[in-house]
Symmetry: C2
C-alpha cells in the first residue's frame, strides 16, 4: 500500500470540512483561514504505553487519540477546528486496519465538529498516533489558560473521577460477578456489567468536554486544565502556572460509580486512585465564588466544588484522614 | 525525568517567540493570532526508517525533522510560523540526549524564524519525531498548491538533484579516496572529502528552501511541491493534482556534484537515482513561460527548466535514451 493510496481512501471517508478549511488533506499543507486566535495542542498515543491493542478496537484507539488532543482544546475553552494525524504503522497492521482506526477517529471528528485536515503515514515499530488539534476563538483573551487562578477562587471539577483508572484495573483483572464481596458495607449489589462497562468505557472511549469547556470559559473560569495525568499532577500544573496553592477537600472527590468497589478489590485506596490516575479527561478549573451560579447553569454536566485557591503553592488535601494524600503523585508520560 | 521538567529545561533554551505567538509551550495549548491564512503540515521521522542514529548526531536528527516539515511550508510559499514536536523517546535516550536533539531543532528554528511553540514527550520503542509546522500568508490565495499547473507552463526545479541519495550511498559504502576509479571518463580527480561531505550533508542536514518558495510564489508559480519523495513520486503528485501531464528532459536534470561518480561506483544510473530518490528537499514548480525571468531574478538559487506541463497525465521523460525512465518510481514512506 502506498501512502498516497491510503490517503485517497481516507479522504473519501472524511466528514465535510469546516468553514475555515480552504484546502484539506492531499497537498503539501492544509490551508485554513482562522479568523481570530488559535489554540494548538499536540499529543501522542503509543501502543504499550497509552493503550493495548488487545483491549481496544482499532476504532477506539483512533477515537481516543483524537479525544485526548481535543481535551486540551476543551481545557482552553476553544471551539474545535482542525486535527492532523501522524500514523506510525507497525508491520502487523494492514491497510484495512489503518482505515478502521481512522474511521473511529473520523466518527469522533464528525461528532465534535472537527475537520481531519491532514496527515502523514509512516512505518514504525509500534502503533503510534501523534495528533495535532487546533481550536479557535474570536480573540486570544477568550482562551482560558492554566495561569489565571487567584487566591479565593473556587476550585471545581466536572463530572466524575477515577473511572478511567478503575476501568484499567477491571481490564487488568476482571472482577467477579459478586460485587458485594468488594464492598462489604454495601447493602445493595451493583449492576455489574453496566458499572464495569461504564468504567471500561471511561478508559477506552473517553469523550472530551468541549461544550463544557466553552461554557465554563464564557461563564468566567479563571484557569482551566484537563485531567489527563490525574488531579495530583494536573492540579500542581495549574497551581504552579497560576502561582497559587490549591486546597482540596478529599471528602468531596466525585468518584465514578464502581470506583470504590474496584479499588477495594485491587487493594487500592479509591481516593488515592482518583487523585493519582489520569485519563478521566474531566476539566479542573477555578472561578470566582460569585460566578459559581453562572457556571453551574451554563455547564451541561455535574460540577463539584473541590476546594479553593489560596496564597502559597502546591496541593493540600483537607479531611480528617487526608494528610497522606498530600504526597500522592500522578503519572507523567515519560 | 518527568515530562514537565524536560519541557521546562527545553523552554529555557528556545529562541524568542515570534510576534504572532501569544502563549508558547507549557499550557494545554499554544495561543497564536495568525492574522491571515495558515498552511499546516505534519511529518514524521522514525529511527530506522528515515534516519539512523549511528549516522547522524542527535542535533542533526532534530534539525532534519524540522527541516522536512518546513520544506512543506516552503512548497506552499508560506512564511514559517510555529512548529510543534511530539518526541517518542526510546529507553536508551536520556534527558541530555533529548536536549541535544532539541537544541539542533531549536537552532534551525532560530535560523528560519520559526517558533517552537509546543510539544509532547512520550516513551516509544524507537526514536520518533512527529512535527507539525504552521506557516502564514496574508490570504489563502497567496499559497501555492500542487493543483494550479496549466498546459504550457514551464516545469522548473531549484538547486541540484540526487545529492541526498548519493549521500546515503556514500554512508552505506564509503567510497575510496581514488575518485577517478569511479569515473573512468573523468580527466580530473574530484576533491573527495569536500564532495562526499557535501553529498552526506544533503542527506543528514537538509535545509528547507523557505525564502526561495516565498519568492517563487510571489513571482507567479502556479503549482509547487517539495521533493521529499523524489521527482518521480512528487512529480506525479503535482501532475495528478493539477490534471496535467509533465514532460521532462532527462538530459536537463541538474545533478549535484559527485552524484554521477557515487552512482557509478554503486552500479546505479545517476539519472534514475536523481529521479527516484527523495530527500533533496528542492522545490519543483510550474510557471507560465512569460514569468520565467521574474522567477529567475527573484529566487536566490539556480533554477533549471526541466520541461513543461501539457494536456494528459503522468510523467514522460524525453531524451534519446530516456524511454525506460518513464517507469521509474520514487519511494513512499510506507
Amino acid at each position: 500500500m502506498g501512502e498516497f493510496e491510503l490517503i485517497e481512501r481516507v479522504k473519501r471517508r472524511l466528514p465535510r470540512a469546516g468553514p475555515r478549511v480552504r484546502l484539506g488533506s492531499g497537498d503539501d499543507a492544509a490551508i485554513v483561514v482562522p479568523g481570530g486566535a488559535t489554540a494548538t495542542s499536540v499529543d501522542a498515543l503509543v501502543d504499550g504505553v497509552h493503550f493495548r491493542r488487545g483491549w481496544s478496537s482499532l476504532g477506539q484507539i483512533g477515537a481516543k487519540a483524537l479525544a485526548a488532543a481535543l481535551s486540551d482544546l476543551a481545557a482552553m475553552g476553544a471551539e474545535p477546528g482542525e486535527a492532523y494525524v501522524v500514523l506510525g504503522v507497525p508491520p502487523d497492521l494492514d491497510e484495512d486496519g489503518c482505515l478502521e482506526l481512522l474511521d473511529g477517529m473520523a466518527a469522533l471528528a464528525a461528532e465534535t465538529g472537527t475537520t481531519l485536515a491532514g496527515g502523514d503515514v509512516t512505518r514504525a515499530p509500534a502503533l503510534t498516533l501523534s495528533m495535532t488539534a487546533v481550536g479557535h476563538a474570536e480573540g486570544p483573551e477568550d482562551f482560558v489558560t492554566r495561569a489565571g487562578a487567584r487566591p479565593g477562587d473556587s476550585l471545581v471539577v466536572t463530572g466524575e473521577l477515577g473511572g478511567a483508572a478503575a476501568g484499567l484495573l477491571a481490564l487488568e483483572a476482571p472482577p467477579p460477578e459478586e460485587w458485594s464481596s468488594f464492598s462489604p458495607d454495601s447493602e445493595q449489589k451493583l449492576d455489574h456489567p453496566d458499572v464495569v462497562g461504564g468504567l471500561v468505557g471511561r478508559q477506552l472511549a473517553p469523550r472530551p468536554r468541549l461544550a463544557e469547556g466553552r461554557a465554563l470559559a464564557a461563564a468566567g473560569a479563571t484557569a482551566m486544565i484537563d485531567l489527563s495525568d490525574g488531579l495530583a499532577t494536573d492540579g500542581r500544573h495549574l497551581a504552579r502556572s497560576s502561582g497559587v496553592g490549591l486546597e482540596i477537600d478529599a471528602g468531596a472527590l466525585p468518584l465514578a460509580p464502581g470506583v470504590a468497589e474496584v479499588a477495594a478489590a485491587a487493594g487500592r485506596d479509591a481516593r488515592e486512585l482518583a487523585i493519582s490516575a489520569g485519563e478521566d479527561y474531566e476539566l479542573l478549573f477555578t472561578i470566582p465564588a460569585e460566578r459559581w451560579d453562572a457556571a453551574a447553569a451554563a455547564a451541561d454536566v455535574a460540577l463539584t466544588r473541590l476546594g479553593r485557591a489560596l496564597d502559597g503553592e502546591g496541593l493540600r488535601f483537607t479531611a480528617p484522614d487526608a494528610a497522606d494524600l498530600d504526597a500522592v503523585r500522578g503519572y507523567e508520560h515519560l
